[in-house]
């Protein structure tokens, strides 16, 4: 077990995958010589050379589309889009091409590409550099979406994404890049589609992913002081998500809160709630509540962004309300 930062875990996963498979290559803006805006690709150009690490012009649509074409031609490209907000420029290639190629070609082949991109606020990066848009991609059949909440998961989920024969969007969280955590020595991929119980509890379940996992843990600690035991689930994977794990937890706790950093309305949480309001309905003792960002663009100013981003206290408030 080595302690490692989230961003370094990403870097390690890329290096290990490139080492293991010569068809893996990287493409993105300033990822080569500069090692990436957040340094996820530091030293990889030196290590693997310019034939495996492509510093691209500012052409998001083209580089995403090139990944589709390269994947259809036997390679395993990993694209970096510098901020998730810029995936707005890659949508045709992701949604109409990468996601659909396998199904629309009758299963003839697959598109083993990965698109890594950071979402989330906390850096006062303003409305065009803070968005959490994962709900869009989760709505698109053919895409997989994962969102690691800690360094070990950042490693394992990225390895799994690169191994996956189909296109995977790896949503990193820029506020977590500096987070430290243990990376297991065996450095195994983490199965896509499986969540994890981060903290067991019997009174209520909080389902979360990404930066919201730590908020949920803090909320659980607060509640524990009052004798209320909250189970915290980290989904890890958003598409597909671990319905069985959430349902199983709900059958024990009978109360559910879903928390994420993205805008609440029409966000990922809506789907979790909607499924549980169907298949888990009989297990529910109270309303299912969501915690997410309010319906406004992510504001720049400090007081505004602080108030905008969900936090542990809002999860606590939701827990109190559903348990009331």
């Amino acid at each position: 077990m080595a302690e490692i930062r989230y961003i370094k875990a990403v870097n390690q996963a890329l290096a290990d995958a490139m080492e293991a498979d010569p068809t893996v290559f990287l493409i993105g803006e300033d990822i080569g010589a500069a090692g990436g805006s957040f340094k996820a690709t530091r030293d990889l150009l030196e290590k693997f050379g310019p034939e495996r690490v492509y510093d691209s012009p500012i052409s998001e649509a083209a580089i995403t589309g090139m990944a589709v074409g390269a994947a259809l031609t036997g390679m395993r490209p990993v694209v970096e889009i510098m901020f998730m907000d810029f995936t707005t420029l890659s949508m045709d290639m992701l949604v109409n091409q990468a996601a659909k190629a396998r199904s629309m070609f009758g299963g003839q082949g697959s598109v083993p590409m990965v698109l890594r991109t950071p979402h989330g606020g906390g850096l006062n990066a303003g409305p065009q550099h803070s968005q959490c848009l994962e709900a869009w991609f989760a709505h698109v059949p053919g895409l997989r979406v994962v969102c690691p909440s800690n360094p070990a998961d950042a490693y394992g989920l990225l390895r799994a994404a690169i191994d996956d024969p189909d296109p995977v969007i790896v949503v990193e969280n820029k506020a977590l890049y500096a987070m430290k955590g243990d990376l297991p020595d065996d450095r195994e991929p983490i199965e896509i589609g499986k969540g994890r119980i981060v903290r067991p509890g019997r009174d209520a379940t909080v389902v979360s992913y990404g930066a919201a996992v730590a908020m949920a843990e803090t909320a659980a600690e607060t509640m524990a002081e009052e004798g209320i035991e909250v189970e915290v689930i980290d989904l890890r994977s958003i598409q597909p998500w671990d319905e069985d794990l959430v349902l199983e937890s709900l059958t024990r706790t009978h109360n559910l809160v879903v928390a994420h950093e993205a805008v609440e309305a029409f966000g990922v949480g809506a789907e979790i709630v909607a499924r549980m309001a169907d298949i888990g309905f009989d297990q529910l003792d109270g309303p299912i509540l969501r915690v997410g960002a309010p319906f406004a663009p992510s504001p720049f100013g400090k007081t505004l962004e602080d108030a905008y981003r969900p936090d542990a206290s809002r999860i606590v408030a939701a827990l109190r309300r559903t348990l009331a």
């Binding site: 199904s103 629309m104 009758g106 082949g109 059949p141």
Partner: protein
């Protein structure tokens, strides 16, 4: 060009022509679901280009992709069945006319999004260059696609990274119902110059011209990877899609197109090169039989089972 080579190209063009004429009939008889964009009048382009390619070279196409697909050697039965939406189609009836693909033949798909083939093929060319076997990638696109920004991004990337990609523009003067000249303040030769990409223009209805240029350009890029542009002036004879009555087009213009008919031109070139009427008739008969067989097979094939809706979305079920 030798007569037998001419005959081979002629035959391929005729396969495309007859296939599309048959599809046209099947469409008006209600057998073809969805949109059908025919490339009648444009057959010389893909046939001329494909003779320079191997199965390991890749191509990608657009909404008007039947010719590109067939010229790449894709199975005719699977092709017809796909367009009729049958279970035996190349894409199991899930793609249709706008999405025929055959990855085993390096055919990366027709496409319903104008311009989308450009980055896909640019990426394929990058992969082929990395693989270092001298294979090349070809993208077919129309003159209407010249307005899409992704063209600019791809010309830049292909030139910058010296990728072995042949950009083949089928310039038929039309973008749906609008003359392309009213949509463009530029042209491909000017863009080629701006990006320092080798550019050739040919009469896209003369298959030998297309073939000669393609052979030359592809040969060069197999040796030294670098992009090239081939602009083929050609003729869209039918409407934008079947059902389009082309009211917006001058009747005389359409009528005059038959003089530039690539198959007619190819037939007379063959005659000049010593081809006999019997030879042409033999080809025509063989093609007709082949088309008829594919058509019948497609008509008789089963529709896809609705139980298959969730099949093939992912390679394996996760979670």
């Amino acid at each position: 060009m030798k007569l037998e080579d001419r005959a081979k190209l002629h035959r391929q063009m005729l396969v495309i022509r007859r296939a599309e004429e048959r599809l046209q009939k099947l469409f008006s008889d209600g057998h073809v679901p969805g949109f059908l964009h025919l490339s009648i009048g444009q057959e010389a382009v893909p046939v001329g280009v494909s003779q320079a390619l191997t199965e390991r070279d890749t191509v990608s196409s657009n909404h008007r992709g039947h010719g590109h697909t067939l010229a790449k050697g894709v199975d005719l039965k699977g092709f017809f069945a796909e367009i009729l939406g049958k279970a035996t189609g190349l894409c199991k009836g899930r793609g249709g006319s706008m999405h025929v693909a055959d990855l085993s033949k390096g055919m990366l798909g027709a496409n319903g999004i104008v311009g989308a083939g450009l980055p896909i093929t640019t990426g394929s060319a990058l992969a082929l260059k990395m693989q270092g076997q001298g294979h090349v990638a070809v993208v077919y696109f129309g003159d209407g696609a010249l307005a899409e920004g992704v063209l600019h991004e791809c010309l830049n990337l292909a030139a910058l990274w010296k990728l072995p990609i042949l950009f083949v523009c089928e310039n038929n003067g039309w973008s749906e119902f609008s003359p392309t000249e009213r949509q463009l303040a530029t042209s491909l030769d000017k863009l080629a110059k701006a990006f320092g990409i080798q550019y050739s223009a040919v009469d896209g209805n003369v298959v030998a011209e297309v073939a000669a240029a393609s052979t030359r350009l592809v040969k060069a890029m197999r040796k030294t990877p670098a992009p090239a542009i081939l602009e083929c002036s050609t003729t869209r004879v039918r409407g934008h899609f079947e059902g389009d009555r082309q009211d917006y087009r001058d009747g005389d213009e359409i009528a005059s197109l038959s003089e530039r008919d690539p198959i007619r031109l190819s037939a007379s070139a063959m005659a000049k090169a010593g081809g006999t009427p019997e030879m042409l008739a033999e080809i025509a008969d063989a093609v007709d039989a082949e088309i008829e067989a594919a058509t019948q097979a497609a008509l008789e094939a089963p529709l896809p089972s609705s139980a298959d809706i969730l099949a093939d979305v992912y390679t394996k079920v996760a979670g």
